[in-house]
């Protein structure tokens, strides 16, 4: 088998055009990284500037703005409240004639509108907290450190937070008598702010259809009505945490009528979605080009042998044709993995160097994953191309098949040509699903946004998408092997 691999390696390296093809793949990938990085340059300081946002403990950029009625909490303590109601209004987008948006006649809150209890280390945006809340349509939740979200009962209206040492435990109840535990969260000891809050993400409607996309959105205001409030004691003071002048962030207000408190405002306590801003994987957006070039090589690696009749020399030298197919796969996979690794590493480094770290953050492990994943994606896709070339024996047909199976589904989905639902399915069932290895932005269950391929979100996780490609490749190799055994050479 070693001799066979050496034989196939000799075949590959002795055709200069194929080596040139490998070089072209690297150049294309770096070139697209430069284009992608230069394209995002215009956004520095704009909405893409993530550096100014507060961060969660793991570095995720977050939103931290809400209407907060609070008392100081020195040590252990308990807070209880009943959320009598949570309603919302969506704001019309501001126009030049109407700089202050008017309210639309809608009383349903955003699904992730929040009203509840919170203990927070001061009122600076980004500080640690633990909160239990009623939401617009996701029931009771316990959230802390922006990125952690735990579901509680769906219909409870009574909330309780108990702070003991470094732990905060949340309870919920439908009647204020029988309590169930929602969960607990770690929170440092020392004096903090504790009280009730209201927040709501802006309203967004996203639609993607053949020929275009439509985005409708605007600010929103949530109104929470609270009673039966008990806290650590002291004066209730209102803080508009993280307030800014944005028209989508109306001023927070708080009114008290007897024991009933009404809090009103916008903002959100949640991770920033990574979909719309610059993403690290954009430096690897040339991956599909490199893949296509190398997949053509993969096809030619076998179909030229058929075209020239050289395949008879090959099979006369090695009567076990399946072993030949295996050796070709090993050589092609190995060579293109190395080429892909060089290309992806160079693209990431060049792209990052040009753009700086103005992207949704990705830790070192994620960076390694997208680079190695891209190389593996290219390598396995090239072996798939080899198998298709073996099955069809014709270069043109096999190249067309590879483009239709891998490149087109990816481009049509990622470039928002296909409707979002179709794109989602295309990226589940075609080998292009493996481009999921490039996704860096996480999907947050507690954040509503367009989690579609056009925004860099794949329907399958990285390993799942890669597995789809591997399954296609295994199937194609099995068919190719069966045909090789049966056919005359």
């Amino acid at each position: 088998m070693i001799g066979l691999v050496r034989a196939e390696l000799t075949k590959f390296r002795s055709v200069r055009g194929w080596l040139v093809g490998c070089g072209i793949a690297v150049v294309l990938m770096v070139l697209l990284a430069v284009v992608a990085a230069a394209g995002t340059d215009a956004r520095v300081g704009g909405p893409g500037a993530r550096a100014e946002l507060p961060r969660a403990s793991d570095g995720t950029p977050v939103l931290d703005g809400f209407t907060f009625l609070q008392q100081p909490l020195a040590g252990d303590g308990t807070l209880t409240v009943r959320v009598a109601s949570l309603t919302g209004v969506a704001l019309r987008p501001p126009t030049p004639d109407e700089p202050v948006p008017t309210e639309r006649e809608e009383a349903t809150p955003e699904p992730w509108a929040k009203a509840g209890l919170i203990i927070k280390d001061g009122t600076t945006p980004g500080s640690p907290y633990a909160a239990v809340m009623v939401t617009g349509s996701h029931g009771v939740r316990l959230q802390h450190d922006f990125i952690h979200d735990l579901a509680g009962p769906a219909d409870a209206r009574w909330l309780r937070l108990v702070r003991r040492g470094g732990t905060v435990t949340a309870y919920a109840s439908t009647d204020g008598a029988a309590w169930t535990t929602v969960g607990s969260a770690p929170l440092a000891t020392g004096e903090m702010s504790a009280g009730i809050f209201v927040a709501t993400p802006p309203h967004q409607e996203y639609e993607q259809f053949v020929g275009g996309t439509s985005v409708v959105g605007g600010g929103a205001i949530a109104t929470g009505t609270f009673d039966n409030l008990t806290g650590p004691g002291g004066d209730w003071t209102m803080v508009d945490v993280g307030a800014d002048d944005s028209p989508n962030r109306p001023e927070g207000t708080s009114t008290r009528t007897g024991d009933t408190f009404v809090l009103r405002g916008g903002g959100d306590i949640a991770p920033v979605d990574g979909g719309t801003g610059p993403k690290l994987e954009q430096t690897l957006s040339g991956g599909f080009l490199a893949l296509t070039v190398l997949a053509v090589l993969g096809v030619l690696f076998v179909t030229t042998e058929y075209r020239r009749g050289m395949v008879r020399t090959t099979f006369a030298a090695t009567p076990s044709r399946v072993r030949v197919l295996a050796a070709k796969s090993v050589v092609l996979g190995g060579v293109t993995f190395a080429v892909g690794l060089v290309a992806a590493t160079a693209a990431l480094l060049v792209g990052t160097a040009i753009r700086g770290d103005n992207a949704y953050p990705a830790d070192a492990l994620t960076q390694v994953r997208i680079v190695v994943g891209t190389a593996a994606l290219i390598a396995v896709a090239t072996v798939l191309a080899l198998a298709i070339g073996t099955i069809l024996r014709r270069g043109a047909g096999a190249v067309a098949a590879v483009v239709v199976l891998i490149t087109l589904p990816y481009i049509l989905s990622a470039a928002a040509v296909l409707p979002a639902a179709t794109a989602d399915w295309v990226l589940r069932i075609t080998p292009a699903a493996a481009f999921a290895v490039q996704q860096t932005v996480p999907e947050w269950p507690q954040v509503d946004q367009a989690y579609t391929p056009a925004f860099g979100f794949f329907p399958l996780p990285a390993w799942g998408g890669f597995a789809v490609l591997c399954a296609w490749t295994a199937l194609a190799l099995a068919i190719a092997a069966a045909l090789l055994r049966r056919r005359d050479a």
């Binding site: 034989a7 000799t10 055709v15 006369a316 030298a317």
Partner: protein, 307 residues
Amino acid sequence: MEATIEVNGLRKAYGSTVALDGMTFTVTPGRVTAFVGPNGAGKSTTMRVVLGLDRVDAGTALVGGRPYRSLRTPLRHVGALLDASALHPARSGRDHLLWQAHSQGLPGQRVDEVLTLTGLADVGRRRAGGYSLGMRQRLGVAGALLGDPPVLMLDEPFNGLDPEGIRWMRGFLRALAAEGRAVLVSSHLMSELQDTAGHLVVVGRGKVVADTSVADLIAAASSDRVTLRTTARTEAMTALARVGATVAVTERDTLTVDGLPADRVVTVLSEAGVPFSEIAAHRATLEEAYMELTRDAVEFRATEVAR
């Protein structure tokens, strides 16, 4: 390993077209066996079957008593040249041999040896796409010799060779056979194998038409034809016709007599008192003998093509 090729009862059909129809013959070591027949007679198909490339509907093909596909490093047992143009034009001749050597676990040094042996040492590092057909044939022979195999099988190795190349190839094949190898060489031009082949397997329409030594074949094709030079043409014709011979006039003083051995012709003419100046048993060329044999087996006759 025994240096033989044994082909037994090969049958193969492509749809309704019968390619092999009970092909049976044996190639023995120490001589060049010519594998001749018209185009489409099944020569190349048989060779592909021997090499395990094509399947058959029935029959067996063994090399040194074993099926080719059971050989681990087959190029060490059988060297074959099927199609000299079957190479990647961008690859150098040396690399074309090198990958084959690697596949058999042979060292790269062996590649340089066979390049020298076939006179390609100077052009080995050039792109094979630039090779003439003659150079490609030599490269193909070099590939067949890589594993120093006891059995060689060459399909139309004379194609595209210039006269010097043909002479070289003949000598080369004779030398390989003289080393004790079994050498099977196919050709559709019998004349190329004159003075080279010791044995002859003639095929037509997918089966063996004749399996004979070259000496026997020529003797058989030459028998009972006598050329006679005489001034008494009419008397000679009368005397010979009376005993059943067929006589034809070829020139003014020359007759061709069919159906009577030379010694009988002499007796008949002597008894009849007919004078003659020269009598010669006709000796057929290998090509004439071959044409005689395949007259019925030629797949596409000129008349059919013309129709």
